[in-house]
Symmetry: C2
Subunit: 214 residues, 2 copies
Amino acid sequence: MREFKGQENGRFVQVPPSDLHRHLGDLLQSADGTDVTFQVDGKTFSAHQSVLAARSPVFKAQLFGPMKDSSDDLIMVDDMEADVFGSLLHFIYTDSLPQMSREGDNEGVAASHLLVAADRYDVQRLKLICEEKLCSHIDTDTVATSLVLAEQHSCHGLKEACLQFLVSPSSLEGMKVSDAYVHLKSSCPSVLKELIARLLPAELKAAKDIVMAI
Amino acid sequence: MREFKGQENGRFVQVPPSDLHRHLGDLLQSADGTDVTFQVDGKTFSAHQSVLAARSPVFKAQLFGPMKDSSDDLIMVDDMEADVFGSLLHFIYTDSLPQMSREGDNEGVAASHLLVAADRYDVQRLKLICEEKLCSHIDTDTVATSLVLAEQHSCHGLKEACLQFLVSPSSLEGMKVSDAYVHLKSSCPSVLKELIARLLPAELKAAKDIVMAI
């Protein structure tokens, strides 16, 4: 009994890479068999309950949970831009972001809106992708807004990146004259205290601890 | 305005690899929101029409095409083992094969059954994966069966691998005493003619062509 050598097989059959993402993307585009419609900011989006439930615990509870209303074939989504919901759906079906029409600084704005949507529907991987994008857009103009976002949506990586950026005195001074600083001060005072604690030299910190302990 | 360097971001946020396959696998397991049931070889399988339609043009036509019967919530599948249909469903949802319980030579048998199912439902990537597996199991005992399969299901790579294996006289003699050779001769005589044409030396072929042309 003579066998072919395993390594020769690639000569005869080429298996292409996974096409699950593309197939689900095509399903979303085609709208075949959609069984739920969302109304977002005046625009409607049709989708498939099973795919949404597979990808988001929030959609799963909404569509298949005990609170589900069987007449829920039109679901209103408040406080979200239509574009953002469209990007969320694209990610849910394909695990990738749609081509962004906004370039440059606006990519950061788009990422922050999408991060809020990803957190709302508990799409963890999308949330991390948005966090990563925001980390690459940290500057003196954006850092205050990103810190607020990080605090409000429990983004530990983004928060850490912002705090490390602000360890530099020039970055800190830059942030303090940015428009978003007022909002940061009023909405997240605790994160400013955390920042101050980091900025104190170790000796001062030790002295403060001693004073506090007396 | 001071920006963070992009390459530093990986320190703060780690984006995990795509989890679409796992999420859809979990959906199949959980059977949440299934809307179609198949009866196969005495066993029932519940699934989601939208996922099946996204992944198989045959399921798409059956479930969403103009011939669709709205009372089709139970679909009978004939001429297929339950295990094979289960593996097909697993692949449709996850783009990967389930852990095979059969080992060694039986892997080839499992691959041939799954190839037939993949061809029937037009799941091209699964068909190629099965073809590749069968290529790695070609020996004097299996080659006749694989050739029949390749002819009946238009598997060009597998057919080519079998023919190249049989170019060796010892392989050819081995196949001729195998159980499946009788079936090959009766069901696919044309492929044997093709094989003979390959085995003829070039000079003999030229002479035969001249004789045929007279």
